[in-house]
C-alpha cells in the first residue's frame, strides 16, 4: 500500500490509496481524480495523463524514458518535472508521492 496525493490546478488536493504495481494513472482513474483522462488506456500513446511530479519526489520517480519524452511532445505546458502518469509504477518507495495535475490535458 502507498498513498498518492493529487493536487488540482485550483490548489485542492486528494490523497488516495495505491497498490504497489499499479501505475499512477490507474490509481487516479480508479479514484476518479479529475484531470487525468488517459484516453489511450495506458499505452503511452496519447499524453492525456500528464502530471507534474513534486520537487522532493523527482529523484524517486526518475526521468521519462525516450518513448515517454516523445509522447510528452503532445502534452501542453511541459516542464522539467513533467511525466506521463501511466509510466510511473507505484512502489513502496513512492508512498507519499505528490503529483500536480496540469491546467488542461488538451
Amino acid at each position: 500500500m502507498a498513498k498518492i496525493t493529487f493536487i488540482q490546478p485550483d490548489g485542492t488536493s486528494e490523497t488516495v490509496d495505491a497498490t504497489v504495481g499499479q501505475t499512477v494513472m490507474e490509481v487516479a482513474k480508479l479514484a476518479d481524480v479529475a484531470g487525468i483522462e488517459a484516453e489511450c488506456g495506458g499505452a503511452c500513446a496519447c499524453a492525456t495523463c500528464h502530471v507534474y511530479v513534486a520537487e522532493d519526489w523527482r529523484e524517486k520517480t526518475g526521468k521519462a524514458a525516450e518513448m515517454e519524452e516523445d509522447m510528452l511532445d503532445f502534452a501542453f505546458d511541459v516542464r522539467e518535472e513533467s511525466r506521463l502518469s501511466c509510466q510511473i509504477k507505484v512502489t513502496e518507495e513512492l508512498d507519499g508521492l505528490i503529483v500536480q495535475v496540469p491546467n488542461k490535458q488538451f
Partner: protein, 349 residues
C-alpha cells in the same frame, strides 16, 4: 498488404450498409455481414484503416485477442483486412460523416464533410472514441483565430504564400510542412519544446541546414499566448529557457497529435449517455431502428471496451441487419467450418 484505395466517385453511393469507423470492430463487421451477403461501405476520418489500433498503438502488443497470444495493433489490422478481402468492401478514408437523415422510404441518407452522399438501409456506428481531431493548444482565444490564422492541416499550399508562419511541433507533420512551406513563406519559425525531434532524421537535418543558412528560425520553447485583432493573428508569445519573447506572426500551424471527440454523432438524434450510444444486447441496435452501434462507442449493462466484445457485437448485429436488408429471406445459421455456401463466399471452396 495492399493499402485500401479511396473511392473517388462524385455521385452518391448506394449500398446495403454503411459502417462509420474502420477500426477493428468495423472491419470485422464487414466479415459477419459479408457472410450474410450484405455489402458494405466504410467511412473513416483517418487516412488509414485500423482506428485506434493503427493510429495510437500500431506497434504495441495486444494480448487478449482470442487465439492470438500476442499481436500488434497494426498486425491485427492487417489480418482483419486479409480476412475481409473476399467481401470486397469499399473504403472512404479521410472523410467524416457530418449528417444523417432518415428518408420517407425507410432508407438513410448520410453526408460527409467532402460533400459525398450515401444512401443505405442500415447504418453501423463503429466509431470507437469518436472522430480523431487535431489537438487544440489550450491558449486563450485560440478558437477565434482558427480558419483565419490558425490551421491544423494544410489544404492548399498557396494559402500560406508570403505569410509569417509559426509551425509548432517536433514530429513528421511539423517538419514536413516546415520544409514545404519555407520556400513560399515570408518568414518561417519552427517551435518545439526540446531540441530533439521525433521526425525523420533527414528532415531534421534539412531543417537545421536552412536554419544555418538563415532562411528560417528554430526556437526551443512553448507558446504561452496569442494576440491579434478581429480574428487576425499578430503575434505569439513564447516561453523558453531564456525567458519570454513575443514574435510577430500571422499564421500558426500547431501539430500536437490527435484526440478523440464525439463530433457530429451528437447531432444525429440518437439517444446518448455520457457520449456513448446505448444499445440493446440482443441486436446492438440504437434508439433508431436500422442504426446499430458496436465497439467502444456503445454502452449497455456490463459493457467492456474490449476488441473481442466488439467482434461479438458485430456478429449479433449482422443477424438483425439481415432482417432489414432481406426481409423476405429466412436466415439459416451456418458454420464456416462446414457450410459449403459460406466457404464459397470466402473463396476457399
Amino acid at each position: 498488404m495492399e493499402l485500401p484505395q479511396n473511392e473517388f466517385s462524385d455521385g452518391p453511393v448506394e449500398t446495403d450498409v454503411v459502417i462509420i469507423g474502420a477500426g477493428p470492430v468495423g472491419l470485422f463487421a464487414v466479415f459477419e455481414l459479408g457472410l450474410l451477403d450484405i455489402k458494405c461501405h466504410l467511412i473513416d476520418i483517418l487516412d488509414k484503416v485500423g482506428g485506434q489500433c493503427a493510429e495510437l498503438y500500431p506497434e504495441k502488443p495486444i494480448y487478449d485477442i482470442p487465439g492470438l497470444p500476442v499481436v500488434s495493433g497494426q498486425e491485427l489490422t492487417d489480418r482483419l483486412m486479409e480476412q475481409i478481402k473476399p467481401f470486397d468492401p469499399t473504403f472512404h478514408l479521410n472523410e467524416r460523416v457530418d449528417s444523417l437523415t432518415k428518408l420517407d422510404d425507410g432508407r438513410f441518407h448520410l453526408k460527409t464533410d467532402v460533400g459525398r452522399s450515401f444512401f443505405c438501409k442500415v447504418i453501423v456506428v463503429g466509431a470507437g472514441g469518436g472522430s480523431f481531431t487535431p489537438k487544440r493548444p489550450p491558449l486563450q482565444g485560440i478558437e477565434g483565430y482558427e480558419g483565419t490564422s490558425v490551421y491544423y492541416s494544410v489544404r492548399r499550399m498557396e494559402d500560406f504564400r508570403d505569410k509569417d508562419i509559426l509551425v509548432v511541433g517536433g514530429g513528421d507533420s511539423a517538419l514536413d510542412w516546415t520544409l514545404s512551406l519555407q520556400p513560399i513563406a515570408n518568414s518561417l519559425t519552427l517551435l518545439h519544446r526540446r531540441d530533439d525531434f521525433r521526425a525523420a532524421p533527414h528532415s531534421v537535418e534539412k531543417m537545421r541546414e536552412l536554419v544555418a543558412l538563415g532562411q528560417m528560425r528554430l526556437m526551443i520553447g512553448q507558446m504561452t499566448s496569442m494576440d491579434g485583432v478581429d480574428g487576425k493573428l499578430e503575434g505569439v508569445t513564447i516561453k523558453s529557457k531564456e525567458g519570454e519573447e513575443r514574435i510577430a506572426i500571422n499564421t500558426v500551424l500547431p501539430f500536437f497529435g490527435l484526440t478523440m471527440k464525439l463530433g457530429p454523432i451528437a447531432n444525429w438524434g440518437l439517444n446518448l449517455e455520457e457520449n456513448l450510444i446505448p444499445v440493446d444486447t440482443e441486436k446492438f441496435e440504437t434508439s433508431e431502428p436500422g442504426i446499430f452501434a458496436i465497439g467502444d462507442i456503445n454502452t449497455y449493462p456490463g459493457k467492456l471496451k474490449l476488441i473481442l466484445s466488439g467482434f461479438h457485437e458485430a456478429a449479433l448485429m449482422s443477424q438483425q441487419a439481415h432482417r432489414y436488408i432481406y426481409p423476405d429471406k429466412k436466415l439459416l445459421f451456418q458454420y464456416t467450418t462446414s457450410s459449403s455456401n459460406l466457404q464459397k463466399k470466402l473463396g476457399v471452396k
